[in-house]
Symmetry: C2
Subunit: 203 residues, 2 copies
């Protein structure tokens, strides 16, 4: 399967840094991009819907799919499996989309990047760890133990910024969204991508 | 002189591809950037003002400045000299600006890039050569011989896209401006630039 003609935008962040909201903003700005719906074994949160936000499956089903080679990438994060199916990439192409946006944790991001080196990786940072804690509590969907574990992991996760092409500090949502949209535009203007148009102009 | 903390955005294009208009749009979007006013030996065109659009000097004055080492870069383009003075870079820093936008021909762009490798280089392409000819004639400031020579050079100039980081096809001004603004935003989000903020968050 040849994927190098699809624009792949991978968005990761420590839990609660706002990547889901920013991903929606980017999808609104680019109708030619589609959201990559991951498979996961974790329980749905809040208003999440099966087949829209995630494909929710149990561990046995996830392992069956994995063993069949159904995943382009997968990872275990916070004790749950997450994966991107090859089907998902084929769907984007069949729909005539120019690319996909992935909203995934950093382990998954590093795996996708290793398999698809032309992917653009963006890391969203919370403005500070106090603000991150406030957002996790404000979400109201996690118990105290879960919040404590996520904050402990947040510090370790922030260090993962070093593996990403771009880093956005989400201290103001509109500015952060404009940064993300700018990155997607800029990536489309890279010389290597535009070379075909330049050469067509010369003929 | 240490310039690596200034964002340097170099915009080049074949004559008439619209780089001056796009440069103005970018300056409107980023008050923390300033326009680098080049020295040139060519005659002012239309409403161009000395000390605003260019520092207009004669060949003897240009050569005197060059020999004094006053230029960070200079080049001969279409039979005229163009140069960026070291003073201009120092002015940006003294004014507390984050960076400069350079509107220069490709020979100058290649020289600046060689001297300042962290500069971001953007090449503006006209949508096609017929449109480029229409724009040159529409400008009304050049005679037939000048227009003919510029078109001949345009083909050779278009091939210079290969030396630039980004290529924007100016087939729709608003979209091209959004692309340029996106590139400047994206460059500010590059991991290497944001590393200081990420490390501060961890302390």
């Amino acid at each position: 399967m040849e994927l190098s003609d699809l624009q792949l935008i991978i968005i990761s962040s420590p839990s609660g840094a706002g990547k889901t909201t920013l991903t929606r903003r980017a999808l609104d700005a680019f109708p030619d991009l589609t959201f990559s719906i991951s498979h996961t074994t974790r329980a749905p949160r809040g208003s999440e819907r099966d087949g829209v936000d995630y494909h929710f499956v149990d561990v046995a089903e996830f392992e069956r799919l994995r063993d069949e080679g159904a995943f382009a990438e997968y990872a275990s994060v916070h004790g749950n499996f997450y994966g991107t199916s090859v089907n998902e990439l084929e769907r984007a192409r069949a729909e005539g989309k120019r690319g996909l946006i992935f909203d995934i944790d950093y382990q998954g991001a590093r795996q996708i990047r290793a398999k698809l080196p032309h992917a653009t990786t963006v890391f969203i940072l919370p403005p500070d760890l106090i603000e991150l804690e406030r957002r996790l509590r404000g979400r109201g969907s996690d118990d105290e133990e879960t919040i404590r574990r996520r904050l402990q992991k947040a510090r370790a996760e922030i260090e993962q910024y070093a593996f990403f092409d771009y880093v956005i500090v989400n201290d103001a949502l509109d500015r952060a969204a404009a940064d993300l949209i700018g990155i997607i535009r800029a990536e489309r203007c890279k010389r290597q991508i535009q070379a075909l148009r330049a050469e067509a102009l010369l003929r």
